[in-house]
């Protein structure tokens, strides 16, 4: 029942927000979200219900993952402490309502950036923190090594409320294969159903497959097929209508990526203040007035790098070292053959 309770709370939150937002809508020059966040003393961040490498809570309730790090970076920039984040685990179905209703201020939950989501439902995507694509997992014993071996009548387990459901249809239709979609609300239920043999294949973003594979009763019995059937740029999302807050989240992410590009790490950030390179000096707050544009101080990006680390550190800590996807693939800097390329912070 608790998931319905959550929907109820988002509804209550929506009603509450409707109340508060009417009095001062357009007039607030400064970002209202920023002001509220500073007043509350924590960043309200929506994450997944448990996806290793992206957003996952340990037994003690500590959240880790690359998606989690985006929220931590914003907290470091805005509040000075990367730990001042309140995480709200959300199902795929609940996530956008939670954001538009004001229950959370950032949605960092392996969410695919698409036109209709960006333009239609009151959301704004601020960037991409993971380039992904949809794939299929099968049991090794099935002998299937390629999606071309799929046959009519195959059953595929997946999540509801995702782009996965749409891509899956496009894919099977283009191949002319009839299939049985079995869609669950929670990722854990999808994994349990697939693991028990209810479905022949499990389909979602490849990073998700790699992460969920670690949760199977015997991970070695499953393989992820090589084909990728879609583009899934995953990134943080904010509510439409607060452009300052949008910029803060966007540039918190960009700062992490640019820090890696310039070789600034959590360990050497302080010593970089004396660097010769003005781009580096700007990122560690030794030059320029970049923070003022958002209403922040000049060391906002220094705090991100010191407390959360650059993008490469975050990736290594959460995704590579945990054995989920040791190879960075497209999520490598543009200077090293990947497609991570962010506008300059100046």
């Amino acid at each position: 029942m608790f998931k319905y309770l959550k929907q109820l709370t988002s509804l209550v939150a929506m009603v509450a927000v409707l109340f508060t937002f009417t009095t001062e809508t357009m007039a607030a020059k400064k970002s209202k979200t920023l002001k509220n966040t500073q007043k509350k003393g924590f960043v309200r961040c929506g994450v997944s219900q448990g996806l290793p490498g992206f957003s996952n809570a340990d037994a003690a309730g500590n959240w880790t993952g690359v998606d989690v790090d985006v929220c931590r970076a914003v907290a470091a920039a805005v509040l000075g402490d990367a730990n001042k984040v309140k995480f709200t685990p959300l199902s795929a179905k609940e996530r956008f309502t939670a954001l538009t209703s004001g229950e959370i201020d950032i949605l960092s939950r392996n969410t695919t950036w698409t036109l209709s989501r960006d333009a239609d439902i009151g959301l704004t995507f601020v960037g991409v923190n993971f380039y992904d694509g949809q794939g299929f997992m099968v049991r090794k014993s099935s002998g299937i090594t390629s999606v071309n071996q799929f046959k009519n009548g195959i059953s595929a387990c997946t999540n509801i409320g995702t782009t996965t459901e749409l891509n899956m249809r496009d894919f099977f239709n283009s191949k002319g294969i009839s299939y049985e979609p079995v869609a669950f609300e929670k990722a854990d239920e999808v994994v349990a159903a697939y693991d028990s043999g209810r479905c022949d294949t499990y389909t979602t973003d490849k990073s998700g497959l790699a992460a969920q594979r670690t949760k199977m009763s015997n991970p070695d019995e499953h393989i992820v097929l090589p084909e990728t059937i879609s583009k899934e740029p995953l990134g943080p999302v904010v509510r439409q209508g607060d452009s300052v807050w949008e910029d803060i989240v966007r540039w918190s992410l960009n700062a992490m990526i640019e820090a890696e590009e310039y070789g600034i790490t959590s360990a050497n950030a302080d010593s970089m203040k004396t660097s010769e390179n003005p781009a580096i000096k700007r990122l560690v707050g030794a030059e320029g007035e970049l923070g003022a544009a958002f209403g922040l101080d000049n060391e906002w990006s220094l705090r991100i790098i010191k407390q959360v680390g650059n993008y490469g550190e975050s990736y290594k800590r959460n995704i590579a070292d945990t054995g989920i996807l040791p190879d960075r693939g497209p999520n490598q800097l543009w200077t090293k053959g990947g497609i991570l390329y962010v506008p300059p912070a100046r």
């Binding site: 956008f96 009151g122 459901e165 239709n173 028990s196 022949d200």
Partner: protein, 383 residues
């Protein structure tokens, strides 16, 4: 005049307050949706849905509209509710009567059943049947055939499909039999009232319902064959049954848990109803020479039903609303398909949630009206 105003005042204030509150929320919702660039409208219902659904009673795929997807979800909700209500009623009546049995074993068994199933949360029971009980079923390739034609596997229950020829003639023969039975029953009642003669209506009815359809087979050109599910290999260790009808495990688990849960409440209603009829009624009926069967049919049941029907209506409503827990186990009901996938793909939260709420309301009210009509029919007719 003064008296009237005093009477009207509070009501007027209530109406104004309700209108103001609703107006305020509507206005706020409008303003905020405008600020965030969210459009309001039901136009999306005619757009292509572009997602597939696992199980559907009508023809549907992603090239159909969102409205069609809504119908798919609604029909699946109705399907599971109707099957659930029928099974729950049967189990409920049997268990309710069994609880009054003088036989110690039957009596205790029924009592334990009721106490066990009604005291565990329904969602847990659904999870149990789906994730624990049905998961223990064999994979398709390991399944043993039941009677040679049914296959119960982890991917569902596969049953033979009927293939009819001249089905309409068969259907008409049943309709004819039913009409004949009604006419005979009416005549028999008249005969009993006017001449005191009794006709074995029940035996005649059974005869008719068997003979007429049989005739349709023999001389009406009706024929029936079965398509038995066949095992089909998808990959080295992956199999599925082809042909026949397949009932997904999600449907089975949901129907099972809903009916077993609701049956406990219905059983209590039935027990209360029978116990609510005075003992003297039974003794009086017996003393005027009615057989035990007649006592039950003519004296006890008509009175017991009056007590049973109203609370049972509540249970039917509960079962229908509880079927929305289907979303937890991937059964594509209204909540999963429409308030789940469709809501996510369109982002039309307010529109879709309002339609879904209205639909459940209509479903519940329909059941209520039906049961109230029945209740009125069996109520004491004051003359």
């Amino acid at each position: 005049m003064n008296f009237k105003l005093k009477d009207l005042g509070p009501q007027l204030i209530t109406v104004i307050a309700v209108v103001l509150i609703f107006g305020f929320f509507t206005y706020n919702a409008q303003i905020n949706m405008e600020n965030r660039g969210i459009d309001f409208g039901y136009g999306f219902l005619s757009q292509e849905s572009s997602f597939d659904v696992q199980f559907s009673l009508i023809e549907y795929d992603g090239s159909h509209s969102y409205f069609r997807a809504y119908l798919v979800g609604l029909l699946n909700t109705i399907l599971v509710s109707v099957i659930g209500i029928i099974i729950a009623t049967i189990i409920g009546v049997i268990v309710g009567v069994a609880r009054l049995s003088p036989n110690y074993l039957i009596n205790k068994f029924a009592a334990y059943y009721v106490e066990f199933f009604r005291n565990i949360p329904l969602l847990l029971q659904i999870f149990f049947w789906y994730f624990a009980a049905l998961r223990a079923l064999p994979l398709p390739q390991d399944a043993e055939a039941i009677f040679g034609v049914f296959f119960l596997t982890i991917k569902g229950l596969y049953v033979p499909a009927f293939i009819w020829e001249n089905f309409n003639i068969f259907f008409y023969s049943i309709v004819a039999a039913v009409i004949a039975i009604i006419v005979i029953r009416f005549q028999a009642k008249k005969l009993q009232e006017t001449q005191g003669k009794q006709i074995p209506v029940f035996l005649i009815a059974i005869g008719l319902i068997l003979i007429l359809p049989l005739l349709s087979f023999l001389i009406g050109g009706v024929s029936l064959s079965f398509e038995i599910p066949k095992l089909k290999q998808l990959a080295a260790t992956s199999f599925v049954y082809d042909g026949g009808l397949s009932l997904p495990p999600e449907l089975i688990a949901l129907t099972l848990s809903l009916s077993l849960y609701t049956a406990t409440f219905i059983a209590e209603c039935v027990r209360a109803g029978i116990q609510g009829v005075g003992k003297g009624q039974k003794e009086a009926a017996a003393s005027i020479g009615l057989t035990p069967n007649q006592v039950l049919k003519l004296v006890i049941m008509p009175q017991a039903l009056r007590i049973i029907i109203p609370p049972t209506t509540n249970q039917y409503l509960n079962l229908t609303k509880n079927s929305s827990l289907a979303a937890a186990i991937a059964y594509p009901d209204l909540v999963l398909v429409f308030a789940g996938t469709a809501l996510m793909q369109t982002g039309k939260a307010i529109e879709i949630v309002s339609i879904t709420m209205f639909t459940y309301l209509s479903l519940s009210i329909s059941i209520s009206i039906l049961m109230n009509w029945y209740n009125k029919k069996i109520a004491i007719q004051e003359k």
